[in-house]
Symmetry: C2
Subunit: 388 residues, 2 copies
Amino acid sequence: MDEAWFDRLDSTADEPAELFEHFREREFEGRTYHALSDTRHGVERGTVVLGDGTVVRGYPSVARVLALDAGLRSVFDPDETIHVEEKLDGFNVRIVRVDTADEANGDAEAADGTTVLAFTRGGHVCPYTTALARERLETAAFFDDHPGRMLCAELVGPETPYTTHDYDGIETNAFRVFGVRERAAGVPLPVAERRDLCDRYGFAQPRLFGSAEPAAAVEVVREAIADLDAAGREGVVLKAADGRSMVKYTTEAQHHDELAYAFSLPFDLGQDFVFSRIVREAFQAAEFDEDDERVRERAHDLGESILLPFVETIHDVASDEPVGERHTVRGDPDTVEALLYHLGQQGLSVEIIDDRWEDGERVVEFVKAAAATRDRVEYYLEGGTYDE
Amino acid sequence: MDEAWFDRLDSTADEPAELFEHFREREFEGRTYHALSDTRHGVERGTVVLGDGTVVRGYPSVARVLALDAGLRSVFDPDETIHVEEKLDGFNVRIVRVDTADEANGDAEAADGTTVLAFTRGGHVCPYTTALARERLETAAFFDDHPGRMLCAELVGPETPYTTHDYDGIETNAFRVFGVRERAAGVPLPVAERRDLCDRYGFAQPRLFGSAEPAAAVEVVREAIADLDAAGREGVVLKAADGRSMVKYTTEAQHHDELAYAFSLPFDLGQDFVFSRIVREAFQAAEFDEDDERVRERAHDLGESILLPFVETIHDVASDEPVGERHTVRGDPDTVEALLYHLGQQGLSVEIIDDRWEDGERVVEFVKAAAATRDRVEYYLEGGTYDE
């Protein structure tokens, strides 16, 4: 990496090498770029530097409050306006338009010598999301006016390679823009300005439930959470007006969904993943649930979300069914092929369940094989002992 | 430690120092001893060497099968007799009689120059259990006849400093001898011989449910587990006739009890503790539960065992109640004092809830304060954020 890039990253490291050693070299469409695989020296995970020195700053991790009322009062100033927006269960990408690198191959170049890329949270170009961003999002006018900004968007819907949450009205997949930031510095637009801007350029956004000072926002959040919970949706993100301070808060439905997911692959997901979801649930119950009966009902749903998928996975392994996350993707054959290659590059073992053509598109159903779960369940089912 | 002791320990270490560095020096009643804090080089955790070179071998860890039927067939030979004994939820100690060391103070010495000690699983002399073993167990005849053997016993009942499980007919606490071993080599007596011997010397033992070859033992275990589960008891240990191969298998009630315990102190107990109990439960449900309704019922109980104690702990912290394991102990004041000192030595912070006299004995109720749980719950309740 070029030492001249160091200043642009505005890190707390003393020497370029201290920071640069954590960047990994990657490649997409003949273009080489460097990505930071973990937050280091004050630079966010997923921050990318392209070959021409263009910086695409990572999206910051969003903290969570466990106690809603106390949390809002502790994170935000008492007279500050907080915007309560829906948090969607999808795949978080940063969409940028960059100059076509000299070395890039011709296919993806726009006539004007620029190209659109979608970077994942970890700083990979996702070929599938990039293809969707190029085809489905009308970004030309926006990037003509704001070449130095990036669209922070969630790819949601049942047909993405990463999440499968169903949303009303989204049959395959769609983008929701939840942030606009300076690409190089990562500074967000204020929430109100971003919402206007997105409306103007025709970008769909997450729902805004309301805006209020912390004391009043608690009630906005509680109503939003009740609605979202009933609809089986994820939760909310609370943002200060300037878009910088953010915290998230999620629904009971989301906790249970995630536990069900974790316990369908019990030996592949970390124990901290499981534990943190139970923690959220307990604090929410302690704050929200008005009587013992309600806590007990929640406990029953929690228990089901843990035990039922785990038992089902044991039965699946016993009867030799594939075990892992199931996804469906569709698109032109090159994009689908590039995606499968991309997943393989990331060490995922993908088992194709179905591969067909529909309306001129290739549709692939696959399972990301959960090898640890399969192997350990098999071992115990064969009588292996469990040493504690 | 004396290098001459090395051979006696029969380890896989090449040099005495490799093994000895893992021993810790401890002291009880003026007697110095060395204890192995973790299993190393083929020597069990809790193995002790006294000042005169006497070795008290550690009790081996007992593996668990998750799939009962397959597990029994995998661990034992098909024509071997397996004894199915109850596993009690208590405190596992090894009781030995040793020569009074020159440096030992006079109080505890028997007139014949010997003294009885109770070693914990980790190789500490527990002063409370030692006092009980001296007062409540008639060991003189046994040790006169078998000075080189040790009694492997569970201290059970509502008034022990370590466990609180209630057993019918045990008002305060009692010993159950589940093994007799050569003190120095750790070799167990065959199960049938040990049961006879204990009967002869008047030592109470865990219940024997039956003895059978593996294929038939599965049914014995399933019936035993059903009975024990209904009575809220822990489970069974299956032992080969020679007492050497052992595996354990536990009840649904025990899994839920342990989860309830873990989630009453959610940030003090390891996440692996929690996870391993859920694993047991899922494999048992997959093997035992005949229909979806039964799995769902189990899931509800599982959910209650997780969420209800956790929520209660959050409320306890909010209202400044003590948080931690609650115990009651009773005995002569010196023993109780020695126990409290012993617990403090092990880094436990003990909060006395009640301290009174009953029938000439000192009775102390205390809480082993769960500092991590208190601190983290407090932090979140004050609005602290949870970063994942």
